[in-house]
């Protein structure tokens, strides 16, 4: 099989412009724009009900957008029926045809396209080789394990060399160990085919592990579209910060603005942080402050650094193997979580001990209030 058509096609393989879909009063897709480069692996990540499935249905053509445009390799497919879209799709529960053998399942898209019998056979074998399932040609899906069914579904989606691959939580039905294994296999296959993949999931670990970029979907909008690293290090909103990894979030007020940094007043004292987003923050403005647990410094004694330190009382500690989670209460009752190395002396402090908490200004995200 040649990987060509899955990968080629100018720069933007898929391009969405102001896509809108409403169901009655509910806006399931709220003016979504997105450009996916050829060969990219982009995940749509969001909680259930965020609108990621609607977006996928719009892409596949099972739903029609109220307005906006979908371009696949330059061709406007917004009004094209699903069977003419040239999109390979892997469904959540595989959607293999139970009355057809593995070979017939994989040959199905070729048969629908009128590919000659001999050519069908050759390509089916090549696709099944790709997913290492060649010896199961004549079985029916019910005779295969979940992981094998998954591979058949994948082979069926790539066999006709579609312009793009859509995957709807394809690993959701597998157990955790197999899921990890399939994550690796899927990414390797994607690299080999140079395929452009849109991958829908609610599992943030999965999205981070596999994607070149991740679109965080919330309430029908893309909250942030970036590399996994960037999403973690520079979340654009408290929602993203909370959805990708763990974060401490609390309310505060801007005290003063400095160049590229700001001082905020929290109920437990003053903090130095970095404003997020283009909007300028005026002193007195209400803000949400977010700090990753591993970026909080927990010390038995004040270290005397530039960052302000605040006293806290340890409520309990949880040993997680590679780190220790420290649950603390600040002077005003605000609860914070920090993670420290198991070798730190602070990891073994008893309940009720007093510590001093601080964070470097670049690790304290200051979000404008009103952001989700």
């Amino acid at each position: 099989m040649s990987p060509s058509s899955l990968g080629e096609g100018g720069s933007a393989a898929l391009s969405l412009r102001n896509l809108v879909k409403r169901y009655g009063k509910v806006t399931a897709t709220d003016s979504v724009s997105l450009d996916v480069e050829a060969g990219e692996f982009v995940s749509l990540l969001g909680p259930s009900g965020s609108g990621k499935t609607t977006l996928l249905m719009l892409l596949a053509g099972f739903e029609t957008a109220d307005s906006g445009e979908i371009r696949l390799h330059g061709r406007d497919i917004s009004r094209v029926p699903p069977n003419k879209r040239d999109i390979g799709m892997v469904f959540q529960r595989y959607a293999l045809f139970p009355h057809m053998t593995v070979a017939q399942n994989v040959a199905f898209p070729l048969r629908m396209r009128g590919v000659a019998k001999a050519e069908q056979e050759r390509r089916v074998k090549a696709a099944l080789d790709m997913v290492e399932l060649r010896e199961h040609l004549d079985r029916v899906p019910a005779q295969l394990s979940g992981g094998q069914q998954q591979r058949v579904a994948l082979a069926r989606a790539i066999v006709f060399e579609p312009g793009i691959l859509l995957m709807d939580e394809p690993l959701g039905a597998l157990d955790k160990k197999l899921r990890k294994h399939m994550q690796v296999e899927l990414t390797e296959l994607q690299h080999r085919l140079k395929a452009t993949v849109i991958y829908v999931t609610h599992d943030q670990e999965e999205a981070l592990a596999m994607s070149s970029r991740v679109a965080i979907i919330n309430e029908g909008r893309i909250e942030q579209l970036s590399t996994p690293r960037d999403l973690y290090d520079r979340p654009a909103s408290p929602f993203v910060g909370d959805f990708i990894g763990d974060i401490n979030l609390f309310d505060a007020k801007v005290e003063e603005m400095q160049s590229g940094a700001c001082a905020v007043a929290t109920p437990f004292g003053r903090l130095l942080g970095t404003p997020v987003g283009p909007a300028a923050l005026a002193p007195g403005a209400a803000v949400r402050v977010g700090v990753r647990p591993e970026r909080l410094s927990v010390d038995e004694r004040p270290t005397g650094g530039v960052a302000p330190a605040h006293p806290a009382t340890i409520r309990h500690t949880i040993f997680n193997g590679n780190n220790v989670a420290v649950h603390m209460t600040m002077a005003d009752g605000q609860e914070l979580w920090a993670t420290v190395s198991p070798n730190d002396p602070e990891a073994n402090l008893p309940r009720g001990a007093t510590v001093h908490v601080s964070a470097a200004p670049q690790d304290v995200f200051v979000f404008p209030a009103g952001a989700a």
């Binding site: 099972f62 069977n83 045809f97 019910a142």
Partner: protein, 284 residues
């Protein structure tokens, strides 16, 4: 899963006790008469196969037998062709619309066959709705004879037996996960090919069950042919009734009954076999 669970949490003894009244009823009302007419057909007046010989050597009786099978077949095909789209509709509708269509399908089932058959007389008679409409539209000059024909029997039986076709098909259509047609469509199949390649083959168990039920009921159907068929459109069941109650030839009526029974069981066995083959490819 333990045997106890499969049997609904009842012990074998309890289950047997509960089933006993029905078993007794079947014994008295079904098995005993069955043994009765089977023995009558070969023992009356003395051990003989003459009644069967009479049946199989008479051109008239064989023609009635054949036409009954043909009628049952035509009714089955008509019920399938007309019922399948309704089953699809029922399986796709949701909410009040689904409820209305389901009621329309079920109400005839709750209406006595006799009432439905007499309704057809009103529709098909010389001054009936169909003739009146055709005459006032100027399409025919004088009323057509529709009543007391095989056509009338086929039309009415199709209507009467339709729910037995629709319900099993509908249930097997409902059990097809909605991603399957969707996947087929997304993989390049037009709506027609989605139906031909996915929906239809996956609904075959329901189609088989529906056809089996309609065909078997149609084979032995009595009321509708007796009322709408008249003397020219005789069927096995009207023949049995005529032999038993008009000519009082009980041994011959018994022999025809046995032939009908064997025919029915044979067809049921063939269908069961086909269903099993179908079921294996689906669930093995």
């Amino acid at each position: 899963m333990s045997e106890r669970h499969i049997r609904g949490g009842l012990s074998k003894t309890t289950a047997a006790l509960i089933a006993l009244p029905l078993a007794l009823l079947m014994l008295v009302a079904f098995v005993w008469p069955l043994v009765g007419f089977v023995s009558t057909s070969v023992l009356d007046p003395a051990p003989t196969l003459a009644h069967y010989e009479k049946l199989f050597t008479s051109a008239l009786y064989m023609r009635v037998l054949a036409s009954t099978v043909v009628t049952a077949f035509v009714v089955t095909v008509a019920a399938l062709v007309l019922g399948y789209p309704i089953a699809i509709l029922m399986s796709r509708l949701r909410g009040p619309a689904a409820w209305i269509v389901t009621t329309c399908v079920l109400v005839p089932l709750w209406t006595p066959v006799l009432v439905r058959t007499y309704a057809w007389i009103i529709i098909l008679q010389r001054q009936g709705i169909v003739n009146d409409a055709l005459i006032s539209l100027g399409m025919i000059g004088r009323p057509l004879t529709m009543l007391y024909t095989t056509g009338a029997v086929v039309v009415a039986m199709t209507q009467v037996l339709m729910p037995f076709m629709i319900l099993p098909i509908q249930s097997s259509l409902r059990s097809i996960p909605k991603e399957l047609p969707q996947a087929a469509h997304g993989l390049g199949a037009s709506h027609f090919r989605v139906f031909a390649n996915v929906t239809w083959p996956l609904s075959l168990p329901g189609v088989m069950a529906g056809c089996l039920m309609v065909f078997i009921i149609a084979l032995g159907f009595y009321i509708t042919p007796a009322i709408l068929g008249g003397p020219r459109a005789q069927t096995i069941s009207t023949l049995i009734s005529q032999q038993a109650f008009e000519l009082l030839n009980w041994p011959f009526a018994s022999a025809i009954s046995v032939v009908l029974l064997v025919l029915t069981l044979g067809i049921a066995a063939v269908f069961r076999r086909m269903l099993r083959v179908e079921g294996m490819s689906l669930h093995a």
